[in-house]
């Protein structure tokens, strides 16, 4: 299968007092058609900035894409002008945001917010758009979709709002759906509903998903491949089974060991010591070295590269470079 989205050496910097702050520092990955890729990392690892870069939304928040390309079916989005990006956003790539409470407009009805997208991108008439919107709401599991069209967001609960967001995001049959922590603000039972829904819909429409999350449980439920980010860089890229069976990078191992499990029990959690360094104060060598249990002399001096191993997995760590 050919790649739908290819991100090459993406660098997105922010500036404070003319000093560059590397939020995303050389990220490479690709997403195939119909594939669900999870981007995992702690707060401050640059996963949300990566997704905003793909959507072309970083400039508004003071960031700048310094280098690299973001290719959607061969077209480089980095070179696109704002008005061209507007035709892609919401149409070919759409996004679900983390906060269902704040990502809907409180003064517009649900109906207005869904039909807006359809009228703008698909050039439907108001009537056609309303009909399509009701269908979409039924698709995401609302039984009284007709009445819901006239409701305002404050009447809905978190889970219902997130389903409305999904309906808006899917309204133009996007090729790529970016979901930034779609279930983090939701309770587990509602989270289960939303995850089931996303899985079903993506099977139905063959949509690719870029799922941004810090919850490894969610990753193992719906992702095909996992990209682990740390301090603006990809440290490991593997399929879900490979990653959970045999994590390579010490950071990935640390992450997997630090979550309490619901089945079986462990005496003591193995925490990763220390904190994530801030992007304006990064260590000189490997960025994980100060927190790494197996850091050697080499790790403090030089930065390892993201190397692809013969079995197709890639990892950024000196521990796996010796054999070459």
């Amino acid at each position: 299968m050919s790649a739908l989205l290819e991100v090459n050496d993406l660098k997105t910097y922010f500036f404070r007092k003319k000093q560059p702050i590397p939020a995303v520092d050389g990220v490479d990955f690709s997403i195939k058609k119909g594939e669900t890729v999870a981007l995992v990392g702690e707060s401050g690892s640059g996963k949300s900035i990566t997704s905003l870069s793909i959507m072309g939304l970083v400039e508004g928040s003071g960031g700048k894409i310094m280098n690299g390309s973001i290719k959607l079916e061969g077209r480089d989005l980095v070179t696109y002008k704002e008005q061209d990006l507007c035709k892609i956003r919401g149409n070919e790539i759409s996004m679900i945001f983390q906060e269902p409470m704040t990502s809907l407009n409180p003064v517009l009805t649900i109906g207005e917010q869904i039909t807006e997208v359809l009228i703008y991108h698909k050039k439907l008439s108001k009537k056609e758009a309303a009909k399509k919107a009701v269908e979409l709401l039924k698709l995401v599991g609302f039984s009284r979709a007709g009445e819901l069209m006239k409701e305002y967001p404050h009447r809905l609960s978190g889970g219902m709002r997130q389903r409305v967001m999904i309906a808006i995001a899917l309204s133009c049959n996007p090729k790529l759906l970016i979901a930034d922590e779609p279930t983090t603000a939701l309770d587990v039972t509602i989270q289960a509903q939303v995850l089931e829904l996303m899985k079903d819909l993506c099977d139905k429409f063959d949509t690719s998903i870029l799922l941004i999350t810090h919850d490894l449980g969610v990753v193992s439920e719906i992702a095909d491949r996992v990209i682990v980010m740390y301090c603006g860089q990809v440290v490991e890229n593997a399929t879900v089974d490979e990653l959970f069976d045999e994590p390579l990078h010490p950071y990935t191992k640390g992450l997997l060991n630090s979550i309490p499990v619901i089945e079986g029990s462990i005496e003591k959690l193995t925490a990763i010591k220390g904190n994530v360094p801030t992007p304006d104060n990064l260590p000189a060598g490997c960025r994980f070295a100060p927190r790494c249990p197996s850091a050697g002399d080499k790790c403090w001096g030089a930065q390892p590269d993201l190397k692809t191993r013969p079995d197709g997995r890639s990892v950024r760590c000196f521990l796996y470079e010796e054999g070459e």
Partner: protein, 340 residues
């Protein structure tokens, strides 16, 4: 820990010597007011009759979805809210109607709280030293010099460098701030700490650090924890016993191994199955029970069993009569008609 040995009796038979804190049919309603005279038009039944007891040295976890009343229960226990009905016994003494002054003199010192949001629960204009010292001022403990020394001592206890004492909260990350919150709670040498979602706002690697810290401190100071969380895996890790709440009521309460291996209540079963689990080598996918619909409003809870509107096993009786919270097996309490 002494918890799982002897059977727990929610109700009259409890020997007050054994339990540190005991709740008897505690209710907390918040009035809904409306109109020009703010006439009361109804109640939000945040906590609607819960009974349980907490033994010295144990960790009791309370889980439930948002809006189930778990935080209100925690706050009512420490008398941040005055209960609408019911009694709260602290070491055998009813504290449910004590005055603020009496509370401060005899109870507050021994029950402390750790809050959910480490960014909102510390005063941004105070140094760590004055944040941790403040409880000493309130309770007139130690002289000036000792207070400063104690503040630094407790910073060290939670794994922060004593030299941080002169810094302000904004200089610290979420995990470090939560440690500061724990140091403040520890300062008065309490017996019971009520932790309301203490790790929910933290990243997983930091979450593990804070959980480990809480466990170490429990051993060192012989603390009793009431651990409120929506995260079933975290609760399983830290607790000895776990209670499941739904819409202001306790649905199930038992030893954690019993609860997680053999959940009786249909709500507990659904809640467990909804938790996404990381795949294990050769592990099979579990059957998932997806609950239909949403949590009903606590202002207008369903008649009969509050869960019957979403329950996959609901019978005719569930819509009419409220099930009693009874011991279905030894030490295993459940409120469900299926087990009567």
């Amino acid at each position: 820990m002494t918890s799982s040995a002897e059977p727990l009796q929610p109700g009259e038979e409890m020997n007050p010597q054994e339990s540190l804190l005991e709740l008897k049919d505690v209710k907390k309603y918040f009035p809904i007011r409306s109109g020009i005279f703010q006439k009361k038009i109804g109640d939000v039944k945040a906590v609607d009759g819960i009974s349980f007891s907490l033994k010295r040295g144990e960790t009791l976890g309370i889980v439930g979805e948002s809006g189930c009343g778990k935080s209100t229960a925690g706050r009512t226990m420490i008398r941040l809210y005055k209960p609408t009905a019911g009694q709260i016994f602290y070491k055998g003494r009813d504290i449910s109607s004590l005055s603020e002054e009496a509370l401060r003199k005899s109870v507050r010192k021994n029950i402390q709280m750790v809050f959910q949001d480490p960014f909102a629960s510390l005063n941004p204009r105070k140094t760590l030293r004055s944040i941790i010292k403040e409880p000493f001022n309130t309770h007139h403990m130690y002289n000036f010099k000792e207070r400063n020394e104690k503040a630094e001592e407790f910073l060290a206890k939670v794994g922060l460098h004593p030299s941080f004492a002169n810094r302000y909260p904004h200089e610290f990350s979420g995990g470090q701030r939560q440690r500061i919150g724990i140091a403040r709670a520890l300062a008065l040498n309490p017996e019971l700490i009520i932790a309301d979602e203490p790790v929910s706002a933290l990243d997983v690697s930091i979450q593990a650090q804070v959980i480990n810290l809480m466990e170490e401190l429990q051993e060192e100071f012989n603390l009793t924890y009431l651990f409120i969380s929506h995260d079933l895996s975290v609760v399983r890790h830290i607790s000895d016993r776990v209670g499941v709440m739904y819409l202001g009521k306790m649905m199930e309460l038992t030893d954690k191994h019993e609860l997680y291996n053999n959940p009786l209540h249909p709500y507990t079963q659904a809640l467990m199955s909804a938790v996404p689990v990381t795949r294990k080598k050769g592990g099979t996918k579990r059957e998932r029970i997806v609950l239909k619909g949403e949590l009903p409003s606590p202002a207008n809870p369903p008649k009969g069993c509050v869960f019957h509107t979403r329950c996959p096993a609901a019978k005719a009786i569930c819509a009419e009569a409220e099930p009693a919270f009874k011991e279905a097996k030894t030490n295993h309490f459940v409120a469900c008609h299926l087990y009567e």
